[in-house]
Homo-oligomer: 343 residues x 2
DNA sequence: ACGATCCATGTAAAGGTTTACATCATGGGA
DNA sequence: TCCCATGATGTAAACCTTTACATGGATCGT
């Protein structure tokens, strides 16, 4: 029984002495089957070790039990914990997750579109902030989909993320409370909506503290470690230095810390730094980085839950789910240094 | 044409004015089809936007185009980069990867076994070092499979990993070259084969350096940060201290560094520390951790390549592929301190 | 010029499931 | 007692492919 080819519904039917239709019903709609029959069927299933052939089932139903998850970079440390939430929730519904990885290459995106077109996935989770299917993005017929972190630019797709404005606000408020007023914002505020919202949080915080717009220092950067470092170099060529750096994400913050360290400054004595995301490295920096935590596992879980809602009702209850970001206070923030204060 | 239900092979056949068999042949075995016909078919495919229904194809072929990847913890930072290699290689073969996550719970393992039994995966990649299917592990009929990092304990399955003995040897040799003789080995050497091989590398290195077995210090630990810290505490209750800590993995090393830091020691002035794996955090520690790098993306790529070999030939060329681990020299190792030398 | 061979194509079965519809038995109401 | 509703089960079609086998035409060798 562990040899030979796998048992089919027909084997079960023969042993239970019923028709295959009855077997199918006993499995999927047990209430439509007499108790005694159901018992026989269950026994037969146990004997044969039968499991439904998912291929056949999907073919008949016209819908698979897979969810495709597409991210620009699955090597991203931010990604793996989300995956945990996604996987757990999917599996609780009897679905599997299929993962894909575009590296921002539309060509690769198109290959996933083929997956979708060939009915291999019942739903789609997108990390890209944009439909990654190149020029076909507009015309593509997509299964129920949800975005993670950001709304999907060209898709009109519900999403799950964190309240970036509130998160950023928590970071500025901490800096303000410590006495900072010259706070630089470092990071991309254009390409990604999440980032521009963090910028909004920054502005809102400084507005509330009465710091005029003219005194704010904004530096662009694409969210990489390198960009943090570069932005810092630019800053040191100006005549005004901030007392604190509020970075759009942890990578940027790490770049800033490295740059500051290389110049011989001490954090937080000389400068305070905050990040956003709470990537795994954040707590291992010296000093440990004060940052805003994304509840990653929860985000994954709720994105998948939202997707299943879409899959059953066609009416989603929410079109945007924002989770609460938490301020994680570590050691990279203190009161501003006198040294640079008077500048 | 982007509305309505997706085109089937029959739609293509009708437009191209040929039979569905010819269409199928034009796609999969073009050499068996006349040039002119192939052209007509290709045009019809372009017009309809036809893509093969993977469900139907898999059903007919009795084999899907998915590879199941099962890891104990997909949130592990070691995991994501491997995933990149796995995914790229799989996709190059037209396969998708399905990921699963057991958390060492045999119950969850069993659910993946169902996936397998229902023909949803043509192959299996295992990270567990053990078949994760509980009591059914022995009798389960598995598709072609390959292990990553370690041979699969109860499976007789080929695997791809790193040469742990050689890697460990590189670490000890570095410490020896710096002048250390009292080198503690910290970490689990029993449950995981990879770990016990690292231990072998340690022993081989000390043998070569003529350090008698009696002078070696071995501490158990399960490979977590906490275990590194604990082992260190135990050590400080003894009367003999090593001058260097060779840790079975980076997590353990991080635990040791934290513990040493808490006791006010400086690394590498007072003690040297090495790790193994080169997890992302390693380079962000202060001091940055000297460790052995696992070529993760390459491991993933070659594991998947090996799997495809199994899938085509039934004779695998190799049953064990060991990649070369590199020594990554950072700042956690220096010559031994005088301070503890004379003890 | 004829039979053998080969090549391109078509016909139809098979793969395992779900489900609309048909069938049949049972029990209740009149 | 008869009819009808109800509930349990069976029959068969459909989902979309791939491919063994059949067919028919053309080509080649003698």
């Amino acid at each position: 029984m562990s040899t030979s080819s796998p048992a089919t519904i027909e084997d079960v039917a023969r042993i239970a002495q019923v028709s295959i239709a009855t077997v199918s019903r006993a499995i999927h709609t047990p209430e439509k089957v007499a108790n005694s029959t159901r018992l026989k069927v269950n026994q037969a299933i146990a004997i044969t070790g039968y499991t439904t052939n998912a291929m056949a089932r999907s073919l008949r139903l016209g819908r698979s039990n897979m969810i495709l998850v597409v991210a620009p970079d699955i090597g991203d440390p931010n990604f793996s914990n989300i995956l945990v939430g996604l996987e757990n929730e999917a599996r609780a519904h009897g679905y599997g997750i299929l993962i894909g990885h575009t590296q921002n290459d539309p060509q690769r995106g198109l290959e996933y579109l083929k997956f979708l077109n060939s009915n291999q996935a019942a739903g789609l989770i997108l990390f890209t902030g944009i439909l990654p299917f190149g020029h076909q993005s507009m015309t593509a017929r997509l299964p129920p989909s949800v975005g993670v972190f950001e709304p999907v630019y060209n898709g009109g797709i519900p999403y799950v993320g964190v309240d970036d404005i509130e998160g950023a606000r928590k970071a500025v408020d901490l800096l303000i409370a410590e006495g900072h007023r010259k706070i630089a914002f470092i990071g991309d505020s254009r390409t990604r909506l999440a980032y521009s919202r963090r910028r909004q949080g920054y502005d809102a915080g400084l507005d509330a503290a009465g710091v005029p717009a003219g005194e704010r220092i904004i530096l662009e950067g694409d969210g990489t470690i390198e960009s943090g470092r570069l932005a810092l170099e630019q800053l040191f060529m100006r005549d005004t230095l901030p007392s604190a750096f509020m970075c759009v994400n942890d990578q940027t913050a790490i770049g800033v810390m490295i740059g500051l360290g290389a110049r011989g400054y001490d954090i937080p004595t000389d400068f305070s730094v905050t990040g956003f995301d709470d990537v795994p490295q954040a707590s291992f920096m010296t000093p440990a980085l004060t940052t805003i935590r994304q509840p990653r596992t929860a985000i994954g879980k709720s994105a998948m839950a939202l997707l299943f809602e879409l899959l059953s009702d066609s009416e989603p209850t929410d079109t945007e789910i924002l989770l609460r970001p938490d301020l994680i206070v570590r050691n990279s923030v203190s009161a501003p240094s006198r040294r640079f204060q008077k500048r």
